[in-house]
């Protein structure tokens, strides 16, 4: 079976610092794949190259077997690759309704409609309503995003990615900064995704990683350190050593 998402020899450096060194990684279709590693290991940088925010210095990115290395970010989204950001990237002046509406309009190919009033297409509206409800955002859908509490903003961050209707979803520390008791909304929504959606997620909370992931890749200093099933990784003394040398803070 071919991988849903694959990288071949990705390299990226920032002024001499190798943030990604020769990373080859395959994420199987329908997988729940975790990417872990100490702060500064290059996890976010890798996601940025997968999504086209950064251009790799060398190497290729394949989505469903086809080379997308040269595609712009929005084209990759059209092909089914969506992501969330480690630090919220929201539209401060727009409401959740408008933000989700935007994502849904683009997914349904209505984003360039310039004469039709937004909201006058029922397929779009149904889809917006579904997302708002699924992410418990209906009660705040008119408020300016900037005014929402952090937990709701984090939900919106995830909701926007899912509103793109991805076949491959990349989550960069989805629960970062969210208090323990609010996490289940986010995790529940992710867990409830249909099986055919491939999920690659970065997470620091090891309980979460081991309860959710079926496969784990460990990244250290920009390179793949090891990869295996949760059992294999849990047993691996070298992985423990990498993590013990590091303070358990979230970045």
């Amino acid at each position: 079976m071919s991988a849903a998402l694959e990288t071949v020899g990705l390299v990226k450096s920032f002024g001499g610092i190798a943030a990604t060194s020769n990373v080859s990684l395959a994420v199987a279709r329908g997988a729940r794949h975790a990417l872990i590693g100490p702060n500064g290991a290059g996890k976010t940088t890798l996601i940025n190259q997968l999504t086209g925010v950064l251009t790799p210095d060398a190497g290729r990115v394949l989505l469903e077997g086809s080379d997308i290395t040269a595609l712009s970010p929005h084209r990759r989204v059209r092909r089914g690759l969506a992501r969330t950001f480690q630090i919220n990237q929201l539209f401060a002046d727009l409401s959740p309704l408008e933000s989700v509406g935007l994502a849904v309009s683009e997914r349904l190919g209505r984003g360039h409609d310039w004469w039709r009033v937004a909201g006058s297409r029922s397929t779009v509206d149904d889809s917006i309503a579904e997302i708002l409800e699924r992410f418990h955002l209906a009660d705040v859908m008119h408020e300016r995003t900037a005014h929402l509490p952090y937990g709701k903003q984090r939900l919106l961050e995830i909701a926007l990615a899912i509103a793109c209707g991805p076949s491959v979803l990349l989550l960069d520390e989805p629960a970062a900064g969210v208090p323990e008791d609010e996490r289940h909304d986010i995790l529940g929504a992710v867990a409830a995704l249909p099986r055919e959606v491939t999920v690659l997620f970065i997470e620091h909370d090891m309980d979460l990683v081991f309860s959710f992931a079926e496969r784990i890749t460990v990244l250290v200093n920009g390179a793949v350190f090891t990869e295996g099933t949760p059992q294999e990784i849990a047993r691996d003394e070298r992985v423990k050593a990498v993590y013990l040398g590091e303070e358990p803070v979230h970045a």
Binding site: K12, S13, F14, G15, L54, T55, D57
Partner: protein, 286 residues
């Protein structure tokens, strides 16, 4: 032909001294200052007032043309500019256009609309003959002075403690503060020196560029070209850009007067299309 080249170099070096302050504030401090030319104009008028009216020696007039705008720059930086460092570029544009407009109208009100010149000492008038090439004495002085300033500037930014402090403050103001660098003083001093150099350039250039109340707006685009085409990663880029612009402009006006400044704008736009970060910027990995 050689005379034109020579005039072009003099003009270019002058442009560099005029724009160098802008290259630093815009490139390093990320401040879009469209009122930069107002400091140059201030220097020019200071020299006119002191040399022509009060009878100061030319050299003293030049010194004052540096000092007065530098003090003015420091004052404005402390009272006004520092409020806009952190604002969006749109605000910086509005704010500095506003200052430029006010300067233009104020000088118009105080000094009148007509063009003025700084009286040159006799010794600087006329030409000397260097191997058959006629070279204006005054232009020679400009080249020497501006050359010295360029070297000094390059040295100050690259080699001195102050240069290192400035770069640290720009890179990461918070860390720099942590290291005990007085960031706001560094910025104020940088701004002041940049304004002073503009003033000096304005006084030196009155003869060549012409000086009237509309100077800040008339030459704004030239200064911006120097910075944008030269790139903002070093002082060498703007220097080369200024030389090219100077030579190009002088040659263009001589050989193809019907095009006027048209060629300059076209070249600038083409450069910015091909190299949006400037001609002489090392393109860092994105």
């Amino acid at each position: 032909m050689l005379t034109i080249l020579f005039d072009g170099i003099a003009y270019g070096m002058l442009l560099f001294v005029l724009a160098s302050g802008l290259a630093v504030t815009m490139g390093l401090m990320n401040l879009i200052n469209l009122a930069h030319g107002a400091f140059a104009m201030a220097g020019g008028y200071v020299a006119v007032a002191l040399v022509n009216k009060a009878g100061w020696p030319f050299a003293a007039g030049l010194l004052a043309a540096f000092v007065v705008p530098a003090l003015l720059g420091a004052l404005m930086e402390r009272t006004l500019y520092r409020h806009v460092y952190a604002k969006p570029h749109l605000d910086q544009v509005l704010f500095t256009i506003g200052l430029a407009f006010m300067a233009v109208a104020a000088v118009d009100f105080a000094m009148g609309t007509q063009q003025v010149f700084v009286q040159l000492p006799r010794a600087l008038e006329g030409q000397i003959d260097l191997g058959g090439v006629g070279i204006g004495r005054y232009r020679l002085l400009i080249i020497i002075l501006c050359g010295l300033i360029t070297v000094a500037l390059q040295y100050a930014l690259a080699r001195t403690l102050f240069g290192a402090r400035l770069r640290a403050a720009v890179d990461d103001a918070r860390t720099a503060r942590g290291l005990g660098i007085n960031v706001s003083a560094v910025f104020a001093l940088t701004f002041a020196v940049g304004s002073g150099l503009a003033g000096l350039g304005g006084a030196l250039g009155a003869e060549i560029l012409g000086l009237d109340p509309h100077f800040p707006l008339k030459f704004m685009i030239y200064f911006l070209i120097v910075v944008a085409v030269g790139g903002t990663s070093s002082i060498t880029g703007p220097f080369i850009a200024a030389l090219l612009l100077g030579i190009g402009d002088v040659a263009g006006k001589y050989y193809a007067p019907q095009f006027g400044a048209f060629a300059i704008y076209t070249i600038m736009i083409v450069v910015l299309i091909v190299r949006p970060q400037g001609l002489f910027t090392r393109v860092a990995g994105k």
